[in-house]
């Protein structure tokens, strides 16, 4: 069982620079479909009440968002556009920063499937799905995630 903490440096996702020329660095963690070699960037956002992902990501999880029954639906706005998104219970794997460790942490969460996704990352983690599972500290340069047995 993985315990302790992992520290992820903020990542420049190559977005437009701020007017003073400084890069935008996002608080990120690395996640994957359990057992997959393909890692995905997830942004951690304490101001978001829910967690959502690119609708196409759900196919990798073996879900058909058109025919599978969601747990519930919720209206959200992402990037200025509102829509009702189906929310599914899924299992994800948290990966260590910079692949420092082969250890992983698997957890189950409710994840909304957002169509028309154009953000430079695959998943946005909010209060439900992330902060209710992982105590997380975000400062100016890094995100520190406390690892505990599933709770």
């Amino acid at each position: 069982m993985t315990e302790g903490w992992w520290r992820y440096d903020h990542l420049d996702l190559d977005e437009a620079r701020l007017p003073d020329g400084s890069p935008v660095r996002r608080p990120v963690v690395t996640i994957a479909v359990p057992g997959s070699a393909v890692n995905h960037v997830a942004v951690v956002d304490s101001g978001s009440p829910v967690s959502v992902a690119d609708a196409h990501f759900f196919a990798l999880l073996g879900l058909d968002i058109e025919s599978d029954q969601p747990v519930f639906e919720v209206s959200v706005g992402v990037g200025g556009a509102y829509s009702k998104v189906p929310v599914f219970e899924v299992e994800l794997e948290l990966r260590a920063p910079l692949a420092q460790s082969p250890e992983t942490v698997t957890w189950r969460l409710h994840l909304g499937a957002r169509r028309g996704w154009r953000l430079p990352f695959t998943v946005l983690f909010g209060q439900r799905g992330w902060f209710d599972r992982f105590p997380t500290t975000i400062d100016a340069t890094a995100t520190t995630v406390e690892l505990f047995p599933d709770r």
């Binding site: 996702l13 690395t30 070699a37 956002d45 978001s48 990501f57 920063p97």
Partner: protein, 64 residues
């Protein structure tokens, strides 16, 4: 989190990319769906998938 070779950023703007451990782009496509389908046909090597935004894309500031 693996970093991307900075010299490659402009070439892959507005595309989804799969970045290998050496920072090189091992696959890319405009579509996330097509990129992940492509990866599923390749030998399983560790990659990080993300999108390089267009240069004039507005900044994302959250979900509500």
């Amino acid at each position: 989190m693996v970093g991307m070779d900075r010299t490659l950023v402009e070439r892959y703007r507005n595309q989804w990319v799969a970045i290998g451990d050496d920072g090189d782009v091992v696959a890319h496509d405009l579509s996330y769906e097509k990129l992940t389908a492509m990866l599923s046909t390749m030998p399983p090597i560790r990659v990080l998938v993300r999108r390089i935004p267009a240069v004039d894309e507005p900044l994302f500031v959250g979900v509500w």
